[in-house]
Amino acid sequence: MRDRISHIPDELLLHILSSKSLQTKDVVATSVLSKRWRSLWHSIPKLEFLDQRFDRYESFLQFVDATLNLVDPKSVKMFVLKCERIEEYYEVSLGKVDSWLNTVLKSKLEYLNLWFPNGYYFLIRVPLPSTIFKCRSIRILKLARVNVSDLSDVNLPSLKTLHLTNVEFPNPESLALLLSKCVRLEELLLLGLEFPDDEVTTLNIGKLHNLVIAFVPVELFPMEAISNVTFLCLHKHNVFGDYEFPAFYNLSHLEIYLGQNGWTSMFSCLPSFPKLETLIIRESGKGLDWLMETSPDVPPCISSHLKTFVLLGFSYSQSEFEIVRFIMMKATVLRSVIIWTGNYSSHEAERLNLLETLSSYPKCSQDCSIFVDVPSGSLYQNVYCKLVSHKDFSY
């Protein structure tokens, strides 16, 4: 039979090799298929190194070295490094990470994702070379458990997505400096920022005009700076009553932890989000202060914009039942009420029982459907995916 693949141009084969289901280890292995394939992968745009795919951490280090030796740095656009076992050879790894980064940063890198563990025997915060923050081509930058010290010369004119998880900065000013230089930033996720000096003050930054998606600690951010977003996700410990929310005219998606907030204070903030369409509340079981009798005025966003109402961590409290009843009664364009009990072992009968109770409530929107513990990957996921998918990297 004919060689099915021989008439395919290199460019198309490289696209196949860059697919998300193949890792660099699989890609490099294709060099022994035939002479044609031998150096084909050298022009691969995507490099993804995950140490858990290797039996020994040492062979992983050798593999990355050897691969970066052969690959054409000009073609590399995406670099992903995940070292779960970095502790095994910490000092050696630090040197390697530094030299690997210096190799790939010579290319027109567009996507950089570095992931390190928290450390079992000691706290891991991998120091990064400052060249990362001078890479003019980078569009997406995701860093976890690294240390950023030298931010004297930031130049990231293409950066659109920035995710920082447990990143250590010398001081809040350096973070503010970094953000102020990311003029095209559209998506910002900040989780567990660390400053050696514990005193945390509000960052001194101007409005991030292009920001669309924000997952940030509210105490660090002047609300005005992020008020252009359409998607806002607040941290667990953020307490509503402590903040003045300016009007978020573009905001359609709000995700919060009810936690200590309580229903009443949450409701009092809602008028700041006049175009709210999706409201997602985590730890809904913790809010105990809701009573129908004292229900506040219906914010206009609830009565005329809210389409999706999600409660995650539903715990069958009286307040939760009352809030669902209230929303269903007042929201005129509501399409879905999504409830997650998080209790995966619960009996189907229990689930149906809850569904039946909620379905018996009077609905002001006839299009409204109720979902209780729907399989993962469906509805709620879709809402989020729709928002972020167009920003995903295409390799």
Binding site: D3, H7, H15, D26, A29, T30, V32, N382
Partner: protein, 162 residues
């Protein structure tokens, strides 16, 4: 073009005629350009040829017709979910024989969705396979001498080539 035209006729590279609705043809940029061309006005009999063989073109048109309603109007989440399932099934059918023809056709017709789907399917066929299994699936002939193969192995420590 005339607004009365709802479907157009095209020829495959084998010379067979195929009908494709206008809304489905819009999924492909080159086909869309053809639509605006004079040859689809009512008084023209010329049938344009698409450089794709009949077996492949049937599949490409099937894909276009299925995806056209969503592409043209935008659809709900449940439709998107359903379409994703349909895509998986579409690629499952004895398409393995013509997968690379579909890939080439999608590239030639500038159909991003089908192109990505075909690339993804090819990559999934390779995933988790040994080198000899991949050779078998794609009928790749091993033209290395054993010395060359040994040399390659030394170049890539930590990588399994079996």
């Amino acid at each position: 073009m005339s607004s009365s035209v709802e479907a157009i006729t095209v020829l495959s590279s084998d010379g067979d005629e195929f009908k494709i609705t206008v809304s489905a043809a819009k999924l492909s940029k080159p086909l869309n350009w053809m639509l605006e061309d004079v040859c689809f006005s009512d008084d023209c009999d010329e049938v344009p040829t698409i450089e794709v063989n009949s077996k492949t073109l049937v599949k490409v048109i099937e894909y276009c017709e299925k995806h056209a309603p969503r592409a043209n109007s935008g659809a709900s989440d449940s439709d998107a979910e359903e379409l994703k399932k349909w895509d998986i099934e579409f690629m499952k059918m004895d398409v393995k024989d013509i997968l690379f023809h579909i890939l080439m056709a999608a590239n030639y017709l500038h159909m991003e969705g089908l192109y990505d789907l075909a690339c993804q399917t090819a990559a999934d066929l390779m995933k988790g396979m040994t080198v000899s299994q991949i050779r078998k699936i794609f009928h790749i002939k091993n033209d290395f001498s054993s010395e060359e193969q040994e040399q390659l192995r030394r170049q890539h420590p930590g990588c399994s080539f079996d």
